[in-house]
Assembly symmetry: C2
Homo-oligomer: 494 residues x 2
């Protein structure tokens, strides 16, 4: 599974100057039509439709074969029936194409000897020509920065997210697509998406090795069902996680789930306990569902990791403060009592009915300044390593001005502190609350609809900070994270 | 805490013919203004603003005191400064008012002897006049069916949900309000909302006893921090849960959370282990967060409880099927292998590449009929007690027609079966997916954005079914649930 010069070629999948669509079709019901349609919507590189029977597709000159294309081809996207894939790939090899995505299904996943043989042929051809292959049975790639989109879903039924700093590697195409659509609605930006499918050649480790160097990627997320080369995967994770966080949603936690994987992909799923141990040893953070995967990713995309496990909770609603405490403690975080000195400072700025302990409950009668002064006191106290704030935007004394003045104060204090204090928020409510939460998030503080999810996000920042300290890369990471040129572009929220 | 004729009076809080707002104000910055404003927006009963200094408020004739009101007063909503509450309540008593909501804060929750004394006075007056009191320090009630709304939040900053069959009792006012706002956005209808505040008189048990008889309430949800009269609470829960499901979000799961409750409400929180045991013994279902509380409630509001713990999973995406399996198994549900007979029936209707086991993976190439035929086979198999379906609405072969034809088939089969098979769904995606999910939900199948949440919903139906079987009320409950006159009105989704 090791190719000479292999990793360098991975770049071709994400930044090709020219793309050939092998199997481009004029029939809107065909994958080869929708794929070309999605590709030319935003991609500004050269596109070559390949179709032996027609002169043009969607207004673009078509070629009978990749061999007939006058210029070079950086990436071939193959969407022809499974039995025609080997010959199409062979032609790509002869043409000198070094990167191919095979969208077509009908290979190993069928569990038939025919399917397995077909996939072996694909691998043989790829090796012979020194070509890297993504797939088969996949959705390919989506790189919003350059408009590259090799998926074939109807854009009337789904949206694609904007550019951001979270990369998403998915073994499952369908789930990957659903997540892209969800991320677009949620306003989460993506640096690179890749659907790996059957992984006959390019696998998670190849992509991880590429993404660790990718300047646009701050956080790497993965959905996997099984990994073939476990040793390589562990080695790669160990290399990557001290530099960039890797969050993994691994399906097949249960015996029944493993059984389902086998009948779904034909791949070896392996014991879940082993995966769990691998993730722990190698510093990968495990998510137990889609929400968690992106809740965690968002926190690491926007906030620096925490230097310890102590959380301060700042809330407008007493009940929410209690529930946030419950959630934080159940995750293994500490919600420490504050020192008398800090309590007294808080008491000086809060209403008499407020509770200046931890959680700091400014109460529903609070005004903007109570939250703003309290957060500074908490940040400077040296008694907490991360903060969960729970504004109730509908509370009578809270104004929409709170958003900018709170953020400004947090930034100012963090600029003055030697080690920054990360902050995440929770705001339960409807449209008005969502609107203000989005404003907060655009300025770099991730906001969640429940305190439980905010607590998990805070936990993620604490846990990754712990790993970085263990790896002795904490200071380096935080410095890189906070470098001013990246502050604005890194949010990538739309 | 037991009053003669006490429970009958609870009706006055939810269905008053006349409401006096004691402390109605003409100043838009005051609670007494916003409260009256919200009340008169939709409520069609008689409203009496009480204010000694003005003749009218918001265009309605005002009275100096409740004593001056010509007609009877079913409900008094008191929003005057804490020190004036006792005298205002005394006048209510003299007037013959039997139900009062005290919105005002400044009582026991302060933790001061003054606050505690004030609250004692309130209780003494209530007892003397045989009056029931909700609060103090609460948001009161919201009953969309009659437009009754005693909350004082600015409607420009939050929405209120429509009528539905889920009741919500909240100890916390702020959290209660945030949840109402969220429910409105989520399209979840509410039968009754009540914020109990300090619970000086009316408590959870009073409301549970009322709601168990309430024809509009199918599911009862509670947010609590602590219960004073534990014995009464357990007794009530044991009486209610065999008839209606009760789902409880109890804050203070951790020691630190309990500490926060004490400083937030001054109430005894008690050991969480005891609560946990109480919930288990009495058939109450425990939710660990707001999402869960309403995910569970929605499943029980729309679907019958399951007759066993076996779940069938029907999916368009293989990966999602695996994750749903993981989630179901981790909750203690079974995802059984299907018999050869059922597998063979499924194989007959599915594509060759589909996986006819459990999960039944119709694949991303599926068309509507593959889901429709499969669900019937699963429902009739006798091998599963509940179904999780995972349509990918963006898949090329799936049309928007699927919604109505799938629902129609499920209804038809359930009408023919002796014991109905409940079904819940998961659809991850963006706006298009949400739109179709909402359509499905309006027809009575709850839909969740992740498979993990759908699995928890299925678990809820299985778990409550188990409790009903234990209580020997399963058949009665299901018959009542399925009575045709209630089928349409019960969804209450907007």
């Amino acid at each position: 599974m090791v190719y000479v010069m292999g990793y360098g070629l991975i770049e071709k999948f994400f930044y090709p100057d020219s793309v050939a669509v092998v199997g481009a079709s004029r029939d809107p019901r065909k994958v080869g039509y929708q794929l070309l349609y999605n590709l030319i919507t935003k991609y500004r590189g050269v596109v070559y439709p390949i179709n032996p029977y027609v002169d043009e597709v969607l207004g673009i000159k078509a070629y009978r074969s990749v061999m007939d294309v006058p210029g070079g081809i950086d990436l071939a996207v193959v969407s022809v029936p499974a039995q025609s894939v080997p010959s199409a790939l062979e032609e790509c090899g002869l043409k000198g194409v070094k990167a191919a995505i095979i969208i077509s299904a009908g290979f190993k996943e069928l569990g038939t000897s025919e399917g397995v043989e077909g996939e072996k042929k694909v691998v043989e051809i790829a090796r012979r020509f020194g070509m890297r292959v993504v797939g088969p049975n996949c959705m390919g790639v989506y790189v919003p920065k350059i408009g590259l989109n090799t998926t074939f879903l109807n854009p009337e039924r789904m949206d694609f997210p904007g550019h951001g700093n979270i990369a998403f590697i998915s073994q499952s195409g369908a789930f990957g697509i659903a997540v892209l659509d969800w991320a677009a609605m949620r306003g989460i930006g993506i640096s690179k998406f890749i659907s790996l499918g059957n992984k006959c050649d390019v696998n998670e480790s190849d992509i991880l090795n590429y993404l660790v160097e990718d300047g646009d990627t701050q956080v790497i997320t993965l959905y996997i069902e099984g990994v073939e080369d476990g040793k390589e995967f562990v080695k790669t994770l160990k290399e990557v996680t001290p530099l960039k966080p890797v969050i993994i949603l691994k399906a097949g936690r249960s015996e029944e789930g493993v059984r389902a994987i086998v009948s779904h992909t034909g791949s070896l799923a392996g014991s879940d306990a082993i995966y769990d141990a691998v993730f722990k040893q190698s510093g990968a953070i495990r998510a137990l569902g889609m929400d968690e995967l992106f809740d965690m990713a968002l926190s690491l995309a926007l906030q620096p990791p925490a230097k310890g496990m102590r959380v301060g909770i700042l809330t407008v609603g007493g009940g929410s403060g209690v529930m946030a405490t419950d959630a934080a403690v159940s995750l293994g975080l500490r919600v420490p009592k504050l020192s008398d000195r800090t309590v007294s400072k808080l008491r000086d700025v809060l209403l008499p009915i407020a509770s200046p302990y931890n959680p700091v409950d400014v109460t529903g009668s609070a005004r903007d300044e109570h939250l703003i002064e309290s957060v500074e006191i908490l940040m400077r106290s040296g008694e907490v390593d991360a903060i969960i704030w729970i504004p109730y935007f509908m509370a009578p004394g809270i104004t929409s001005e709170l958003v900018s003045s709170f953020i400004e104060r947090v930034r100012k204090v963090n600029n003055e502190l030697e080690i920054p204090i990360p902050i995440v928020g929770a705001a339960t409510g409807g449209y008005y609350t969502q609107k203000l939460s989005t404003m907060v998030e655009r300025e770099g503080i991730p906001m969640y609809p429940t305190v439980e999810r905010a607590a998990k996000a805070a936990w993620t920042l604490c846990k990754y900070g712990e790993w970085l300290r263990k790896s002795r890369t904490y200071a380096e990471y935080v410095n890189r994270f906070l470098s001013p040129t990246r502050y604005l572009e890194k949010t990538g929220l739309s």
